[in-house]
């Protein structure tokens, strides 16, 4: 059986501009796949091609087993899409929008009514269902947008920057909903985001896109470990400093640290912490403070592109 999403050399140009440059990716059944990159990297263009809204100018992609160019209608039956900015008609109520979406997906009036009620309850909008969407907060709009994309119980769900512009509480609530969908229903989720934390929190695998090209792909753990081992920083009493340093540098490569602190790279990953602490204890060295600094996805992005995704400073 084919994978939910497969793209091979997928390309989209606009005149001389290459928005998406020959990307290859596969997303496995039941996976939350994060597509991470800065504004203008090509995330939305890629999503628009995968959701049949934009024709590729090169390469091919299959979603839910169907070709996005030649079998667009079949793809549309199998996918749910929540695009950027929660495109919702402010004059309609949440209920009306859900009912319209049900009709667009060929769901009968009776079934549609039942589905809409369930979905409104699921996203916590039952009380607001008959209010016009123009009165909704940003978080409520996003939740409704999510509900709209689920009306026909899609096999693959595309979420294009679903939390952009949301306050932290609404963002976390939406993450929770995505996790639930993925765990309880097994929906495959393709999520684009420019937020490192979002990708780290939600995605089982991540592709980092920059200037239309995928520059890294893998699990968050693997991507981070590829950048370098985590750094363990330990504070000890001044009298124990030299001994502690000797013990620790036997277990990992010494790294720069401020005065009075010892830092080493944990080549064995975070599991090696225990052996470092045990070795220090064996030497009767009292550890005053321990800090573990793992490489972040921003470090991964910087390693791949020479730029920082957060903060915008060059490395």
């Amino acid at each position: 059986m084919s994978r939910p999403i497969e793209a091979e050399n997928l390309t989209r140009t606009f005149g001389n501009l290459v928005a998406v440059n020959s990307i290859n990716l596969t997303v496995e059944e039941g996976e939350v796949f994060g597509f991470l990159g800065p504004n203008g990297a090509g995330k939305s263009t890629a999503v628009r091609m995968l959701t049949t809204l934009l024709k590729p100018t090169g390469g091919a992609a299959r979603v839910a087993g169907f070709d996005v160019a030649s079998e667009a209608s079949m793809v549309r039956k199998k996918i749910g899409v929540a695009l950027q900015d929660a495109a919702i008609d402010p004059l309609m109520t949440g209920n009306e929008l859900l009912r319209l979406q049900a009709v667009l997906h060929g769901i009968s009036r009776h079934e549609g009514k039942q589905r809409c009620a369930e979905l409104l309850e699921r996203v916590g909008l039952t009380a607001a269902g008959d209010k016009r969407v123009g009165t909704y907060s940003g978080g409520m709009r996003r939740r409704l947008d999510l509900a709209l994309s689920l009306v026909h119980q899609p096999k693959v769900l595309f979420l294009d920057e679903p939390t952009t512009g949301l306050d932290p509480t609404s963002r976390v609530a939406l993450w929770e909903e995505v996790r639930t969908l993925n765990k309880e229903i097994g929906t495959t989720v393709f999520l684009t985001t420019q937020y490192l934390e979002e990708a780290d929190q939600l995605a089982q695998r991540i592709a980092i896109i920059d200037n239309g090209r995928i520059v890294r792909e893998g699990t968050p753990t693997k991507l981070k470990s590829d950048v370098g081992a985590p750094t363990l920083r330990v504070d000890v009493a001044e009298s124990d400093f030299e001994t502690a340093k000797q013990v620790m540098t036997k277990l990992g490569e010494e790294r720069p640290a401020r005065k009075g602190r010892i830092a080493i790279g944990l080549d064995g990953g975070t599991r090696a912490i225990t052996s470092v602490l045990k070795s220090l204890e064996d030497q009767d060295i009292e550890v005053q403070h321990v800090e573990l600094d793992e490489p972040s996805l921003d470090d991964v992005f910087a390693d791949a592109t020479g730029r920082r995704l957060e903060g915008g400073s060059d490395t």
Binding site: L54, S73, A87, L91, I107
Partner: protein, 263 residues
């Protein structure tokens, strides 16, 4: 949670749902409709009074200016109503709602038909408003009787459908509300370069030739005939054929332009 059954989307249901959505928006935002009702009423009142003696010229075939102007106002109101589907689409394209509909398994024809359905339904309102004002306040006649009313309504609906399809093509191409301004200029130029305002006998120079060969001329004659005399097949046929050709042409235009939405 229930399981949504997999079935083919009924394109007729989609068309009806999109039409209903447009009408619902119109009900909630009356400012969308007021200009297309007020404008033709103003037109028939003002021009029937100001040009009351114009019917003494050859070609008007009536002794009441309101009979001439009412049909013209109805068709202008209908053409203006044709902008409705285009306006809704331009708004949807700008805010992304159109992509939501395109991402569903519906055919372009169902989507376009729904938008045309909205425009056509809108056209009934100015037509009815002009008829009420013309007959209740301006002493209009309908020598063509009930058939005259029916032909007037059908012509109004036809004009609204043609203009709606034409405007949709422009909106699909430009993908912005600004496209409506261009659409209006082209639309009303086409309407005015016909026998809407004056009969061919009263038009001179290049305007005469343009009006003579403008298919809208035949359509307006068809819609107006009941106000001037009996409804005849001789007057209906050219209008009917012109309207049919315009509908086919504008449908093909809208359908071809739809392909440009994803560019």
């Amino acid at each position: 949670m229930t399981t949504a059954s997999t079935r083919n989307t009924s394109q007729l249901h989609v068309t009806v749902a999109i039409t209903k959505r447009g009408l619902m928006r119109m009900r909630r935002l009356p400012s969308l409709m007021i200009p297309s009702i007020i404008m033709p009423i103003f037109f028939v009142v003002a021009f029937s009074g100001s040009f009351s003696s114009v019917v003494e010229l050859d070609g008007y075939s009536t002794d009441k200016a309101v009979n001439w102007m009412a049909a013209w106002a109805i068709l202008q109101g209908s053409a203006f109503s044709g902008l409705g589907g285009g306006g809704l689409t331009a708004t949807d394209l700008e805010n992304g709602f159109f992509d939501r509909m395109r991402a569903a398994p519906i055919t372009p024809s169902a989507l376009i038909s729904g938008l045309v359905g909205y425009s056509v339904t809108r056209a009934v309102l100015p037509t009815t408003a002009v008829l009420i004002v013309s007959f209740a306040a301006l002493d209009a006649d309908m020598p063509g009787g009930l058939l005259g009313f029916i032909v007037a309504y059908l012509t109004a609906i036809g004009i609204a459908a043609v203009m709606s399809l034409f405007v949709l093509g422009i909106v699909f191409t430009m993908k912005t509300l600004k496209s409506l301004a261009i659409a209006q200029v082209v639309m009303f130029s086409t309407m005015f370069l016909s026998v809407g305002q004056a009969p061919l006998e009263a038009i001179q120079g290049w305007l005469y030739h343009v009006a003579k060969y403008n298919p809208i001329t035949h359509v307006i004659r068809m819609g107006r005939q009941g106000f001037l005399g009996d409804v005849t097949w001789a007057e209906t046929q050219p209008g009917f054929i012109s309207l049919a050709l315009l509908l086919i042409g504008s449908s093909l235009w809208a359908r071809a332009c739809y392909q440009k939405v994803d560019i």
